[in-house]
């Protein structure tokens, strides 16, 4: 065995633990999930029968399939756009040399360590129409109260606000790392050339942050399509299914109504949607290479 082969073997062994876990906990279940989607499977007795494409065709007659999918798109659009905008703005603020940067970094990041259960309960109380502090403040300023969680127009937005509060700190850290990585000399040179703040942002910061944006947007979109806990805790999918998301629908079918085959089919369709969106996003965001 040559030294090169040995090294290759050693390198392979380094990734072997992860690969083994990936195969056992991700690849195998995923394969199993695809296989189940073509069956009617009783999870308790193990009885299983091949039903062909029936589970996939069932989505056509399932009124909650389309509803939950559209809700998820709405959530993804709102949370990815607003969430990343907030994270980026926070990062810009911190990267600008603000005093006490580490303190603010910690403050903005802190909500991430809270469990979604705790966050959900706290925000449920804040949003309560009659007893919540948000409506109390609105009333104090002479504004009408809002039915944050009981009006279908606001319910999803309310969830997005909570999610941004709870999670903006994570992307903020990634953006901050990206921003601090841009050499100061670029900005100094641009300033000498008379470029203003907006111009520096458009011509230096944004192009150089392209790959960071690609990463955070793709990760955020994948996460947004998988949203479940937040509406489950905060609204129970209501009012009138306005916050009933796609993964909520998968969960209900699989673990509440025991339709494992159908839940698996729904999961496969979601995986396809996520893959498609991630691919489009990646292609759009990395079309041109930027180097200075």
């Amino acid at each position: 065995m040559t030294g090169r082969t040995k090294n290759g073997l050693v390198n392979a062994l380094f990734i072997a633990p992860y690969l083994a876990l990936f195969l056992v906990w991700v690849a195998l279940p995923a394969f199993f999930g695809v296989a189940i989607s073509f069956t009617k499977w009783n999870i308790f007795t193990g009885e299983i029968g091949f039903v062909g494409l029936n589970n996939y065709l069932r989505v056509l007659s399932d009124d909650l399939f389309l509803r939950s999918l559209l809700n998820t798109f709405q959530y993804a659009a709102l949370s990815v756009a607003a969430g990343n905008a907030v994270s980026f703005l926070l990062a810009c603020g911190l990267a600008g040399g603000i005093a006490g940067r580490r303190f603010f970094q910690t403050i903005f990041f802190a909500p991430i360590i809270l469990s979604i259960g705790v966050t959900g309960v706290i925000w449920g109380w804040l949003y309560n129409t009659d007893f919540g502090i948000l409506n109390y403040w609105l009333q104090q300023t002479g504004l009408p109260r809002l039915n944050w969680l009981t009006n279908p127009k606001f319910a999803m937005i309310s969830i997005v606000i909570m999610v941004i509060w709870a999670g903006a700190g994570f992307n903020m850290m990634i953006y901050l790392a990206g921003l601090l990585n841009i050499p100061k000399s670029y900005y100094e040179a641009a300033q000498l050339d008379g470029a203003g703040a907006m111009s520096r942002m458009i011509h230096i910061t944004l192009p150089l942050m392209k790959h960071t944006f690609a990463f955070t947007l793709i990760i955020s979109t994948i996460g947004a399509f998988q949203v479940f806990d937040q509406p489950y805790i905060l609204t129970g999918g209501g009012p009138d299914y306005a916050t009933y998301t796609y993964v909520y629908h998968i969960y209900s079918n699989g673990f509440r109504y025991f339709r494992m085959g159908y839940a698996s089919a729904l999961s496969c369709l979601l995986a396809a949607v996520i893959a498609l969106f991630s691919f489009i996003q990646y292609k759009m965001l990395t079309r041109r290479r930027v180097d200075y």
Binding site: D63, V121, F131, L149, R256, F258
Partner: protein, 431 residues
Amino acid sequence: MRAAQAPRAWRRFFSLFHGWLAALVALALAGCGGQERPLTDLQYWNGFVGPDGNITEPILKDFESKTGARIEVQKMPWGIYFDKLISAIAAGNPPDVFVLHMSELASYAEMGALLPLDEYINSNDSFCPKADRIQSIWERACYKGQCYGVPLDIHLLGLYYNKDYFDAAHLPYPSVTEPLRGEQFIEIARKLTIQDKDAPTSNIWGFSFSGEPFRNFDTLLWQFGGNLLTDNLKQSAINSPEANKALQWMHDLVYKHKVSPMPEGVDTWQFFVQGRIAMITEGCWVLNGLTRYAKFRWGVAPFFLAGGTRAVWATGHVLCLSRNLPRERIPMALKLMKHLNDTGVMWSTSGMLPTRYSQIRSKEFLEQSRAIPFTSQLDRIRFEPASPIGIELRDRYQQTVFSCLAGLFPVQQALTRVDGQMNRTIETYYR
């Protein structure tokens, strides 16, 4: 040089990962070893994470000292509990004894998850004398003529009220045995409601439905003479004049009489604890929570009577065994179930009611005066229909009831809508 690098890399690899690999192997062995528990090591899974969880401890200790068994209790919030339970049963490694609600039993039994228990508990009186069983409750542990569980308790709704507010409004306390009539209740709620736009922090609602709205809707639906499903459980019966009256009655409390906020979330009883609501309808399971947290005097009365039929929503915890439980583990699991049922009076300090006449008439139980409003309603308890898709149907009409009370749909439109949804769900299931 390269030849020297390779062994170093190997050493580095093992130094980095040997602990991790050992942990993995240990985990795998632990997983495989689950089946080899001694027969006296029992696993008991439940969702009693509230104050009720503490009450199980002395009961189980007593069992351990009497039998020499060792009980491993797993308590989880109900949402997580069911996910884990399903996985454990499916993996062929179920707990020895686990708890379901009566409303879930039909789905699990229909799916073949539960072990039929007739031969163990109904063949003779040694498990529990038949004459001692409150039949209407024990029947709810059966499905399609077969018994799948042993009732641990029964729990139902009552009307909780703030005595301080009643005193301030010079109102007499409601009876502990006779329900308030609908009009009486509305009048009281009106007198207790204080809404001042200029001082919103001092606002008090006279009443609020608490918990999940379906429990209150079910109660009122039955009181007005309606039903959720037809007798054969194969068609929705929710689009009826009786259902209209029930939902309209709830709707009027919010929008016509303006004595109640719209239901929002399931923790409304906490606003009662904070003194923001004067009366709530809640289950007997909050008794200990209120005792601990409420800083005012409070009382309980039977659920009010809005319609012409006495009825109140009820359910219960049922002790079950999995069909996958190895046969040799069944005798000890049955002993534990019997012990838990035998100690119903002790368990009733959690707020739940026992399921045997001898226990409910016992001196120790009768000394718990707070239980009287609930025991006085035992003659009118009603249960959700034992449909194999009961959970899905309930999810459907719960959304509609909630949406209607949130002002999204007029009452009749809501009922027509959910009637169609429920019938489609039923058709799809039986197709």
